[in-house]
Chain length 319, copies 2
């Protein structure tokens, strides 16, 4: 490596962004996020370490799938299950509570090879919502289910059903009792490129705290919260869901690549830094060449990337 | 008018498509649809007349708003309310029934001036779902509600609530008893351009007959079933909802205009005739210059247009 290359590689390492060289497609790539928002840099070291450990565990689970030749959607599901089970993140157990003090979860999954997808909104009893998204994608002629109907489909599919109280942690209950509106940060998502060159994306969330029951955010909306198409990219969004719905954020990035010939990085930045406003949120994205983009316009975004042949990166703030 | 112009005008009239001349923006434009699908040309004249009368009444209601200087979204709501109340169409009263014999309704509305929107899925008790979409758009910080939460928002907003049996007509009950799967045709929608140059789009449906309870189609999905942005166009979709979700049909048309510089007609045809397959469905669309496109790849699509300065058109099949 030339000195300049070393310097550039070091800058990229510092930036927490692993970027494939043009033309060199990595064998696989996995990016996860744990939400974007007003994440204070004054966070205690012990809490920051827990977030980093959670992201790392999700990358471990997803990378194990990809390294052994598994499918992108299986890696996305494996990574998101870890984040759903981790009470730190606003998805699955530890989700924020709605106006009635209950967790109501939104989720979606999409596969880039055939644009198959599965999504569910306002669910209260399915232990791992991302597994419901996969069951809908694989076993139903439909792609999107709401509320009770989604839960009944989960039961019929043999997924693990839990009491709604399972999702409620003491920390979230306490915040709810104190009427502390929590930042929407903590939505989780993953995007992956597998050894076969296929893409997938998934997103799972508890939405916004104190939301009106039945409110659906962008996470289960294909095109807004999640999108994947081998021809362009896989995207998972996190942020102010209403704005992501009306701007069709995830598909807009794919459309800028397909119709305006932008690179993944330019397309993702065009949407997150130019169309959206500071504080709105961020996305993680990967294209079929293994290029990765993780722009956000908030204070921070919990994120991590495991790209074959590159050092693993975990980051929260901008450098 | 030259003889050639007369001939062209006559062909356009026959085709049931009213097209503004380049540069001449009509004062307003309204297009409605009553669904695309396998609509047999052998339909009895009396039934065909009823469909035409329904579309005509919807155009009357919407055009009255536009002619008097009202807003595009008010015209869209006025037109769709008429179609929801007409038992012939698969929206509101007369919706098809799900696997349990109940009507479950999906709806959305979007305004092009600020991309504000409102949507609801799997509702069973709101007499005119499109009025719920408007209430969500105007009065909630959220844009999308599912099932019971949506119904509670409707009640709190003072909308008319009905017994779920209100929606069930004898004709639909009989079809359900006989296990006759009905074509998804009959979804309704409207797009409008008002005197101020603002666009709006809305879509309302009972979805597919014998659907699994909780199934959500494309109609309430902003970007798939409905999209409106003054910078490009307003679109309402009808057809195989799952395909419209995964292809983000409504926004894709807008994106082809914005990012690939296609005309409305070319963008709509690119999606409906090239990306989608025969039998999938159709769209109605209007742009900010008053150009209208109504492509479909099914046997027929119930549709009508009222464009200032043009003869009103109602059509079902291709000429």
């Amino acid at each position: 490596m030339s000195k300049a290359t070393v310097v550039i590689a070091y800058i990229l390492l510092i930036a927490g962004i692993a970027t494939a060289q043009p033309g060199e497609r990595p064998a696989y790539a996995l990016v996860v996020h744990g939400g974007a928002g007003a994440i204070s840099k004054d966070m205690p070291d012990s809490i920051e370490a827990n977030y980093r450990a959670g992201l790392n565990a999700a990358l471990d689970a997803g990378e194990a799938v990809l390294a052994s030749g598994g499918a992108a959607e299986d890696a996305v599901v494996a990574a998101i299950v870890v984040l759903e089970n981790d009470p730190l993140f606003n998805a699955g157990r530890g989700a924020v509570l709605n106006a009635e003090g209950a967790a109501e979860l939104d989720v979606s999954l999409m596969r880039g090879s055939d644009k198959a997808c599965g999504a569910a909104a306002a669910i209260r009893t399915v232990k791992n919502p991302i597994t419901l998204a996969r069951a809908i994608m694989e076993r139903s002629p439909h792609v999107f289910f709401a509320a009770e109907g989604a839960e009944r489909f989960a039961e019929a599919s043999g997924l693990e059903i839990v009491d709604p109280e399972y999702f409620v942690t003491e920390r979230r209950r306490e915040a709810w009792r104190r009427r502390e509106a929590e930042d929407a940060k903590g939505t989780v998502g993953a995007v992956a490129l597998d050894r076969d060159g296929n893409l997938a994306a998934g997103t799972s969330t508890g939405g916004t705290s104190f939301k009106t029951p039945g409110r659906v955010g962008d996470s289960p909306v294909i095109g807004a919260g999640t999108y994947a198409d081998n021809a362009t990219c896989a995207v998972s969004s996190t942020g102010h869901g209403e704005l992501f719905i009306r701007n069709v954020v995830a598909f807009r990035i794919a459309a800028l690549m397909a119709f305006a010939n932008l690179s993944l990085d330019d397309a993702a930045n065009e949407v997150v830094r130019k169309l959206l406003a500071p504080g709105d949120g961020g996305v993680i994205a990967v294209d079929a060449r293994g290029n990765v983009a993780t722009p956000f316009n908030t204070e921070g975004m919990f994120r991590g990337a495991a790209i074959a042949g590159n050092e693993r990166t975990i980051a929260i703030w901008n450098p």
